[in-house]
Subunit: 466 residues, 2 copies
């Protein structure tokens, strides 16, 4: 664990293969570190005395001291030597970005064995190879070499994200950034030649900055330990969200030529992960969606959903979504029904879904949402706003909902189908009120359902321990 | 049919309840017509001599001649009288926008019977009541009263869209506009007191501007005729895409208090619609997605999918999506494999999914996509672009793909997960090349699959007739 702690909290980082050459990985990593990392940066490249204004060392052996962390971006064949040199110096953890190992065939696999042997000879830990390494917005550590104008990176927050695939991990990171989800740590662990995904999960289970752990995994070497690490995180009250690549024969065969990992019997793997308490999602969209719910609303504490809508048809689709997801429409209490009957126009439909009609101004939303959210029969609230309606003023809606969001302790989500105007203002709601926004009720309800299931599992684990 | 033809092609339109008053339905409709309708506009309102610069008639009886179409936006209780007056004048078709009929209870239901009786007395046809009426971008007929800054409307094109729900219909229209899907006609038919959805489908089956018919339906009165109208459209080679509201008990109960329609036994309805050849979608997102595929690529003529990707993980997820959707990964021919082996870098994965690696420039995409698309074993191509990669230049990609898109006759779709940069450039691909864009492979493949199923059904119907 000490080595992993250094991985995320180094005071000095050496970049082996640092470069001034435009378009190289070695330059991009150096630029990223220069932009955000607060500690010491030590470039190593036999070609330079200086790179990007920093003193450059010709060889690892020339470094003035052992860096806490080394990022290695040199040709695969040079990596075992570099690792041995770092070992001799006393470095305890490295990230090997370089590709050309197990994933390319038997020759690469041999090289990978050699790499691990070199590291183990001195007890050094290695992340990778064939990976993007680490991004930690809390301390500015960033070894993702995509250009920043193409690849956004999330701000600091509570979600840790581990990815076996580098490129896909980067795409998800980019998507998370756009969605406004804050990150505690990102690790692209690639071939997992030494540091395994289960060690990272265990580390994150104890990491105070991490509230939720998300993973993209194709295959693991040690299923037993992986499941145990999930159980540990869940027992700590941290949801684990898992996207498994290679769930089918076609996907699993593609995975074997990707990370060289055996995807294994996917069904057994997934059912074991669910048993361990993981939230297993079916695709990237669901991954983002459930992270939104967990980050901004927390999991619902039960399955009963209240719906408030200004459009009957949208209410019908939401009711369908609730039942199809295995949740239920909350039966509103007599008190709530009576209150709504008095407070809403007579043509409104009072029974859940509560249809406050197409001419509903924000004030009517405030009345209905508060009443529904405070109903003891309601565990979560789906608020549907068809923003095309002339009566719906999104800025006023945000003003009024702010107070309700502060008072209400139950998860609320926003559903708003439509075009540019709707998306723009829905994102404002999401950003300003931390109410997750979805374009369809199906997405919203599926995310609520997955979060609810996790909570139920967590409660039952907690119960067992009492 | 003649009355319906007039509905979409009137030379003169009367607006009963036209108004100058800001925020009224009567004003919004008049403004829309003034902005886009080329024919004569005849406002009627007992309060005005002029509205928005147009001569206004006090009563329907005062109109100088029978308008081809009347749009009625007066209180529900006044509508039977207005319809009788229009009848006497000789108008053959009306749209009743007004609400307050069957959907509000027994009193409204009586009023609706009276309304229909008034129309039938002279053979007038009525669309609605409780609806948004018609939007026809080909001739500028527009009775949707949402403000244009909140509610975009699609340009002219080949998709006809019918919606039982007005507000939801408007939201979908807004979404279709953003997605860039062109429309032949939109009809919000509301309570369907007189003109039924099946009549509209039959009309559209014969409409030369309509290539695809999409519907949001909660319930129909005459299932047999509805299914027959779908069969007719399918036999004409026109895909019918159906979103059914009220598929569950919860949704169906919500529907009964919405449009007052009995959603009926949803499973039987849906399976009959599938039998008739309809593409039944599960939610709004799927509706938009399948319309994209049908509009821009046409249905794949078989189930074998080729995948080209610059990211292994994304390829794995796409392969999973293909198998889970009931499609299959195309086995590439020996010729294609040999060609790709020579044309791509050695570390590439040649077997479908074709992984052209993270450093793939657009030129490498062009080589791989063309080879895969021209393989006789391939029915459709999924192109995955992780645009975070520094080597991927989206403008150059568009340039190179333009030629391929022109040559290749098979459907191609673009999958690009990520944030703002990715979405922006993916939309450019979609707009400039008419290659449908999806953020996840799951969405893309589901849309391809639904379109393929329709095509298979259409072929089998065609075969039966031979």
């Amino acid at each position: 664990m000490e080595a992993l702690h250094k991985l995320f909290n180094p005071e000095s980082v050496a970049v082996i293969g640092a470069s001034e050459k435009e378009g190289t990985v070695g330059r991009a990593i150096l630029e990223n570190l220069l932009a955000t990392f607060k500690g010491e940066i030590l470039p190593v490249n036999y070609k330079y005395d200086y790179v990007l204004g920093l003193k450059c060392y010709r060889r690892v052996a020339d470094l003035p001291r052992a860096p806490d962390l080394a990022v290695v971006a040199v040709p695969a064949t040079s990596t075992p030597g570099v690792i041995r040199d770092l070992c001799n110096l006393g470095t305890r953890v490295s990230i090997v970005i370089s590709a050309g190992f197990r994933e390319v065939g038997p020759e690469g696999a041999k090289l990978e064995v050699e790499l691990v042997k070199a590291a183990r000879s001195c007890g050094m830990r290695v992340v990778g190879p064939n990976c993007l390494g680490v991004y930690d917005p809390w301390n500015g550590l960033d070894t993702i070499f995509n250009p920043n104008d193409r690849q956004s990176k999330p701000r600091a927050g509570g979600v840790a994200f581990l990815s076996q695939s580098g490129a896909l991990g980067a795409a998800i990171l980019d998507w998370l950034a756009e969605a406004g989800i804050g990150l505690s740590k990102f690790v692209s662990y690639g071939n997992a030649a030494d540091v395994k995904e289960w060690e990272l999960v265990e580390y994150l289970a104890n990491d105070s900055r991490t509230a939720v752990i998300a993973l993209y995994v194709e295959g693991v070497e040690d299923g037993r330990r992986f499941m145990a690490s999930i159980r540990k995180a869940v027992a700590m009250g941290k949801p684990v969200v898992l996207l498994k690549g290679g769930r089918t024969e076609a996907g699993s065969s593609a995975a074997s030529s990707h990370t060289g990992s055996l995807a294994g019997r996917a069904e057994i793997f997934i059912s074991a992960a669910r048993q361990a308490g993981a939230i297993v999602v079916d695709n990237l969209g669901e991954l983002i969606n459930v992270l939104k719910v967990l980050t901004w609303g927390g999991p619902p504490k039960g399955r009963r959903v209240g719906i408030v809508t200004n459009g009957g048809g949208a209410g019908v689709l939401a009711a369908d979504s609730v039942e199809l997801a295995g949740l239920s429409l909350a039966p509103l209490t007599e008190g709530t029904l009576e209150y709504l009957r008095g407070a809403l126009p007579p043509a409104s439909s009072i029974k859940n879904p509560v249809d406050i009609l197409g001419d509903a101004p924000p004030e009517r939303y405030a009345v209905a949402v508060e009443a529904v959210a405070e109903d003891p029969n309601v565990d979560s609230v789906v608020i549907i706003t068809l923003m095309q309606s002339p009566a719906f003023d999104p800025r006023r809606f945000i003003e009024l909902m702010r107070g309700i969001k502060e008072k209400v302790r139950k998860p609320m989500v926003l559903v708003a189908p439509g075009g540019g105007y709707t998306v723009k203002h829905s994102r404002e709601v999401e950003r300003e009120l931390a109410i997750p926004y979805f374009r369809t009720s199906e997405e919203a309800v599926k995310a609520l359902k997955l979060a609810t299931e996790w909570y139920e599992r967590y409660k039952s684990v907690e119960g067992e321990r009492k």
